[in-house]
């Protein structure tokens, strides 16, 4: 048994060791870096079951005022570790494309860091899951975002990747500015940065509703960028399309999970202020409605699969925001919304990673990311086509998949909160979703391939794909293990208490 912070330190140390190993080694193949990273992450994942829990009442000034290790944050940490492992496997598949797009004198030079940078993102995500202080949360979020800046622009020979990098850097920095400004307003109002203490101070503030709302809106703008909510979604399509595919997968899963986790944590103290709680819920509902409509309708005419998944990511942010907008004012309602968001994020993670993994493998043989390039994939590789079929059905919300159960929970929350407008919008957009997700399936199964040569899948990728497909079905039929993991008395929302 050892303190939970050891996990983050181990991931960071692994990153440093691999960076040094990469710079000292003469080998041109960097595959062993990724493989050892996956291997060590698996060990760290196993270690995460043997950590001590946080003290109930930390003494003032101690580290526990910044960092909590409740069961829910441990679940998020494990998810971060598993996601990083999947992304690294994806990066291995992507190595050839990467090497082609990085001009260098020596073979393989400059590709090694691509397998190491995800480790730093992972440690940032893990720290974020445990942060109970705004300063800590901000530092962790920046660790995530800054490593993403580098990874998005990694293919310096590709114009699309560079364009994506510049867009992401500028808009990301702008959103960070909003977020920090929001934090300073919160600090100015309350004199605190710890979530629990902020909640106490805010509840006793009289007559500064406008200032409190302004602070929250600034934070919402900053986090809206991270989770890709409308009207802060303009960076999403270009960045998702231009970035290397494994990074796109990590970005859509990691950035969204981090954003929503932080959003729930930050919202909690503000919802405690009775006089403005209904205004906050109205703002959230408007955001959710706009995100639902834009994300799903803009995805309809897309022909590029990566771009389609980018708009789908915006659409799913809409469903998640819909659940968040159903947070009642009563503290008991917070718990179930936390579990809903947690389950939805988990389901989203499974199906997004699966679709990007299939995309990464298939596009190397199809020579393109347009939907027409996937014509007749079922004849070239029934395995990949079936995996993508499962991913697309789950994203659309076909029953018996995890995606369906996630949507079911969201709609159940909305019914409980009587959010009828959002329910109507959600129903329409789910219908739109069926059209554009299943269009991919139609292309794979009912169109003739231009080139019928079979596609081989490596053993490691095959294993991950089988696990993800199994996960989608198992948690779609029996969601209880995940739900109870997010519900164990402390939700991400209640963990600050």
């Amino acid at each position: 048994m050892f303190p939970p912070i050891t996990l983050e330190i181990l991931v960071l140390a692994l990153g440093f060791i691999l960076l040094l190993a990469e710079s000292f080694s003469q080998s041109t193949s960097k595959r062993s870096l990724a493989k050892s990273a996956v291997f060590c992450l698996a060990w760290i994942f196993a270690l995460s079951f043997f950590v001590t829990s946080a003290p109930a009442n930390p003494e003032p000034g101690s580290f526990w005022n910044f960092y909590s290790a409740d069961p829910v944050s441990m679940v998020f940490k494990r998810i971060a570790l598993l996601t990083t492992m999947a992304v690294l496997v994806m990066a291995l598949e992507y190595e050839k494309v990467l090497a082609k797009n990085i001009p260098s004198a020596r073979e393989g030079a400059g590709t090694g860091e691509f397998f190491i940078l995800p480790l730093f993102t992972c440690s940032g995500l893990m720290l974020l899951a445990s942060a109970v202080d705004l300063v800590m949360a901000f530092a962790a979020l920046e660790l995530v975002t800054i490593s993403f800046y580098v990874m998005v622009a990694y293919m310096r020979g590709s114009h699309a990747s560079l364009e994506a990098g510049v867009k992401y850097l500028i808009l990301g920095a702008l959103s960070t500015g909003f977020f920090v400004y929001g934090i300073t307003w919160i600090f100015g109002l309350t004199g605190e940065t710890h979530f629990t203490k902020i909640a106490l101070k805010l509840a006793s503030l009289q007559g500064s509703d406008t200032a409190i709302l302004f602070a929250l809106v600034l934070v919402l703008v900053g986090l809206g960028f991270k989770v890709a909510a409308v009207p802060f979604q303009s960076w999403v399509p270009d960045v998702y399309q231009g970035a290397p595919t494994p990074v796109t997968a990590f970005l859509s899963v990691g950035s969204k999970a981090a954003g929503f986790l932080l959003l729930l944590r930050v919202l909690e103290p503000f919802l405690g202020v009775a006089s403005i709680a209904h205004k906050i819920l109205l703002v959230l509902s408007v955001l959710a409605g706009a995100t639902l409509i834009f994300g799903n309708l803009a995805a309809l005419p897309q022909n590029n699969l990566k771009r389609l998944l980018a708009y789908s990511s915006v659409g799913h942010a809409g469903y998640l925001l819909m659940a968040v907008a159903c947070v009642g004012v009563a503290p008991s309602a917070l718990g179930s919304v936390g579990a809903t968001v947690g389950f939805y994020l988990f389901a989203y993670l499974l199906m997004t990673l699966l679709s990007f993994l299939v995309l990464t493998i298939a596009t190397q043989h199809t020579k393109g990311e347009e939907i027409q390039h996937f014509n007749g994939l079922s004849k070239r590789s029934p395995f990949l086509a079936f995996a993508l079929l499962v991913a697309m059905s789950s994203l659309a919300g076909v029953p018996l998949t995890a995606g369906f159960y996630g949507k079911f929970l969201v709609f159940a929350q909305a019914v409980n909160a009587s959010q009828w407008t959002l329910i109507a919008l959600g129903t329409v957009t789910v219908g739109a979703g069926f059209y554009f997700y299943l269009r991919v399936v139609a292309a794979m199964y009912w169109a003739e391939p231009a080139d019928a040569s079979p596609i081989q899948v490596s053993g490691l990728s095959k294993m991950i794909i089988v696990l993800l497909v199994a996960g989608i079905f198992v948690f779609g039929v029996n969601p209880k293990p995940v739900l109870s993991a997010f519900q164990t008395q402390q939700t991400p929302l209640a963990s600050a208490h």
Binding site: F16, L19, L20, S23, F24
Partner: protein, 130 residues
């Protein structure tokens, strides 16, 4: 209430300064428009400052990318020093209050930067010739 008024009047000079700045910028533009007959143009008038050498190349010469690399590394390690100064100044007092943790915090910080330095050297970031 008195305190509030006092605080507001504290910001009066800043407001005045903002007004003066805006006023100066506007009047400078206006005066040059009126006196300088800005609409009348010719080739001589369009050259930079209407005096000096005639420029014979573009305004932005190309730099080697190495300059940026060195500049970025310099800023990184410069910030380290900026961070260490206040730490060194209060070290004697702080170590009595907080114990050895204040030493180990800085030690780990410098340690991480040292790893970064080793990495940069091995990658040839400071190698000017290659």
């Amino acid at each position: 209430m008195f305190l509030l008024c006092f605080m507001k009047s504290d910001y009066l000079p800043i407001l005045l300064q903002v007004l003066v700045a805006i006023g100066f910028a506007c009047s400078a533009l206006l005066v040059s428009l009126l006196l300088g007959k800005a609409t009348r143009r010719n080739a001589t008038k369009d050259t930079a400052y209407e005096c000096g050498m005639i420029a014979d190349e573009g305004p932005q010469p190309r730099f080697s990318v190495k300059f940026y690399l060195v500049a970025m590394l310099f800023i990184l390690f410069d910030l380290e020093i900026v961070f260490m100064y206040p730490w060194a100044v209060i070290y004697k007092d702080a170590i009595l209050e907080y114990g050895a943790s204040i030493f180990w915090s800085m030690f780990s910080f410098v340690g991480i930067l040292t790893l970064g330095y080793v990495y940069a050297v091995k990658k040839g970031a400071l190698d000017w010739k290659s």
